[in-house]
Symmetry: C2
Subunit: 127 residues, 2 copies
DNA sequence: CTGGATCCTCAATGATACTG
DNA sequence: CAGTATCATTGAGGATCCAG
């Protein structure tokens, strides 16, 4: 109680920043069915580079969202999985992902309309 | 159907990127109770600069999430409000905000523990 | 006075290549 | 396989200036 993201100094601001960190939403969603190895994550989250994924995983691990298990084998095997906290974050972040996938046409249409001020009926003030 | 954020080339990727864009979640949550003026937004979302807020508002407007109404008065008055699409996005983004506000202690504790490898009982492999 | 636009700086992000 | 190292690019942030 008492935390408010609208306050510049509230710790929740930092937390929200971390959640929004570019690839966090992908990692959380990618791990929803269980732990994955580093390479499997890179393969599943297309477009992420090893460097950035490493940074993201480290940060999420520090924040208690991920477990990292190094099996110390040869060849190396490391598995990343969601903690309970990470799984609780999966609920809202899955909803965000689903919203994105569901509303692509709406966004693309709106963007197209913003670009082409097509036959605007008329009369509207100035936008 | 058919959109998948895990694909690097999927348009939903762009949409998700926009949603994650640093201040979008704040703007959407700030407008949940109705339209606000530019200055009111700056005041409510503490820490955002006019420049960055302007950019965020423009982008969100292009994406069809916001309406911008210029009343062409003297002194100037411009109001920003959520479109139906923006309101639908409010649902998942409010959940994210609430998660952030609710789990601040968990994150801070985890970070503290990651920094101080305090008396770990023992026996755990290496994590 | 409100709602910006501009210029500059720097931290985060990304591409590419290489290593234990 | 699981990352690092290096370099280029982008975007956020701060300060300042401008127009109605």
């Amino acid at each position: 109680m008492g935390y408010n993201v609208m306050s510049a100094t509230c710790p929740s601001r930092v937390v929200l920043h971390r959640i929004g960190a570019r690839w966090t939403v992908f990692v959380v969603n990618a791990l929803e069915d269980g732990p994955l190895r580093f390479t499997a994550l890179v393969a599943r989250i297309q477009g992420v580079t090893p460097k950035v994924l490493t940074e993201t995983l480290r940060t999420m691990q520090e924040d208690g969202l991920l477990t990292r298990v190094d099996y110390a084998e040869q060849p190396p095997r490391v598995e990343y999985g969601l903690t309970d906290l990470g799984r609780s974050l999966l609920v809202p972040l899955r909803a965000v992902r689903e919203w994105a996938e569901a509303h692509v046409p709406d966004i693309l249409d709106a963007r197209e309309r913003a670009r082409n001020p097509v036959s605007r009926p008329e009369s509207e003030p100035t936008r």
